[in-house]
Amino acid sequence: MAECSNMPLIVVDNLGVRLNTSRGPAQAVRGVSFALTRGETLGLVGESGCGKSVTALSLMGLLPDSAVVTGSVKLDGDELVGLADSDYCRLRGNRISMIFQEPMTALNPMHTIGNQVAEPLRRHKSYSAAQARREAIALLDRVGLPDPARRVDAYPHQFSGGQRQRVTIAMALACEPDLLIADEPTTALDVTIQGQILDLIADLVEERGMSMILISHDLGVIAENVQRMMVMYGGTVVESGPTDEVFRRMGHPYTQGLFRARPKLGARKGTRLRTISGTVPELADLPSGCTFSDRCPLVIDQCRAALPPMVDVGPGHFARCIRTDVSMAERVGALTA
């Protein structure tokens, strides 16, 4: 694997996903492109319905059958879009794995955690039951579950939320995947546990040289945990760049709006939060042109004419906005650098 270390591990080019919703077909993801080399970490930020989870599920091949995927996703040069389900089964949990948001529902309540962690090993690596069990205990130990040799035969309900998330991480890591997708891995957990879980994921990513895509709605989690980030809105990437660069100088009015709308520690009572007017649009009725145009304070007629192109606004830093000259004059983000 060392010889291809400078080759991108995964290349996503112009990915599009059309879903059949109750309100008719909806373009959930439009024109998403990125590349990730080994060991690189990428964050996806956005609110519900922005397409971040659908992007992740399309990489995993877990979209419903009725979904139409266009564009290309290449893992080490092999095309994944249109791959037969049986071939995908050989990849999932083996070369690409995913940690889900709800550790309560991601585990099967009818099986012991040991069997669930061992399952990918038995399936992909054809380990014997005894071998897989030994490996599962080692993995549970690595993710910091106390007393794994004794608790390997326990059921999910016997663990707390943070412990269950550790078990799902052990499952995801069992076959040493090349790419780990973590979809809001800590949203259901307390802040102190969130810190521990994110630390654990960061250690494992570093230790095993994995690439990671971390999905979160929390700008703080993104700022502290990934090298590069993409902000999504209405199925498109509206801003992308190195995390430090984006937080130093936010380019897109939506990124700025998200940043300003967060209640901040130390802001005194009586200060008003700066909201983004309106609500997150339904994917089935997105405005034409820029997807954010209906809520944008800087909107002009031209914004509604066509989807703006990605504009270069700094080193490796792009924003999908035709008014960056105005939006970036305010230097949102710079003060907290």
Binding site: S48, I193, T279, T336
Partner: protein
């Protein structure tokens, strides 16, 4: 405290009995609340923070008189809610209402908004429903919805709008106190800000008091005059947000503050020490936080600390509060 407080909670205790594991031993108990005392004055807001299992939601349920406490009293406007006859208690509920966390689960999907919002009035006043329409329309306007929304059903609204409906339902009885259990944690960031601003506007307009339960310190900081930090059913620190967040006196508050991810450039990973998971049922002699505390010593493990004054209106239950306050404080966000 010259005037009588709106809400006076004294030495509240709540225990739940666990399923019996052996016929030879008494069943175990969970001490969800362990002697909590707080006061809320009219027009002021109290924030309660803590991890899951700290007793925040039990506290909310007991204050709302949805559960009878094992010991202690909850007095609203001088009346002990647990001693009121059922009929009087139902009428007293006009003064205190609740907003729940999940705006999808807390509204009946088969009722129109008009019925949902008017329900507290139908229970309290039993009058003809048509007379409520004007009041429903008025309260919907106050939370930023339209009159036309009355005939719609909950599924036609987004999460933020549903939470506005839940707030309208709480407001219609013109309560003095609203207990909000994680009111914005299920909402998107941009919508969360709208709901928080609305809650602040309503407080100014009607002189409401809130008890705001949240795991998000920034949300509590934004909306509350006073904050209580709970740990295993006890208040471990209490004071104004600026005291708590800039001069925190309990190592647990400090750990919570440090764990909040900061949205800023050059954030990078801040390592945190592993912390043991605490248990409810174990009866410990000393400070319940001692096993997780970086400053814990023999004295802490033997003698439980009392909640004591460490500054003007600032209480902490820690033997080493002064040492904690002297530590450099976690940096705030802009």
């Amino acid at each position: 405290m010259s005037t009588a407080p709106l809400l006076d909670v004294r030495d509240l205790e709540q225990r739940y009995t666990l399923p019996r594991e052996s016929v030879f031993r008494p069943p175990g108990q969970v001490r969800a609340l362990n002697g909590v005392s707080v006061q809320v004055r009219a027009g002021k807001s109290l924030g309660i923070v803590g991890e899951s299992g700290s007793g925040k939601s039990t506290f909310a349920r007991v204050v709302m008189a949805l559960e009878r406490p094992t010991a202690g009293q909850v007095a609203l406007l001088g009346r002990d809610l647990n001693r009121l006859p059922a009929d009087e208690l139902r009428r007293a509920r006009r003064d205190f209402q609740m907003v729940f966390q999940d705006p999808y689960g807390s509204l009946d999907p088969r009722q129109t908004i008009a019925r949902i919002v008017a329900e507290p009035l139908t229970v309290l006043e039993g009058a003809d429903r048509t007379t409520f329409r004007d009041r429903v329309a008025a309260v919907l306007r106050q939370v930023g919805l339209r009159d036309a929304d009355m005939e719609k059903y909950p599924h036609e609204f987004s999460g933020g709008q549903r939470q506005r409906i839940a707030i309208a339902r709480a407001l219609i009885t013109q309560p003095k106190l609203i207990v909000a259990d994680e009111p914005v944690s299920a909402l998107d960031v941009s919508v969360q800000a709208q709901v928080l601003n609305l809650m602040q506007d309503l407080q100014e307009q009607f002189g409401l008091s809130y008890i705001l339960i949240s795991h998000d310190l920034a949300v509590v900081d934004y909306l509350c005059d006073e904050v209580a930090v709970m740990y295993l059913g006890r208040i471990v620190e209490q004071g104004r947000p600026e005291d708590l967040f800039e001069r925190c006196a309990h190592p647990y508050t400090r750990a919570l503050l440090e764990a909040v991810p900061r949205a800023r450039a050059g954030g990078g990973r801040r390592r945190r020490g592993a912390q043991a998971i605490a248990s409810h049922s174990a009866v410990t002699t000393g400070c319940p936080y001692a096993s997780r505390c970086p400053l814990g010593d023999q004295h802490c493990r033997e003698v439980p600390p009392e909640l004591r004054k460490v500054g003007e209106g600032h209480l902490a239950a820690c033997h080493k509060a002064e040492a904690v306050m002297a530590l450099p404080q976690a940096a705030m966000e802009g």
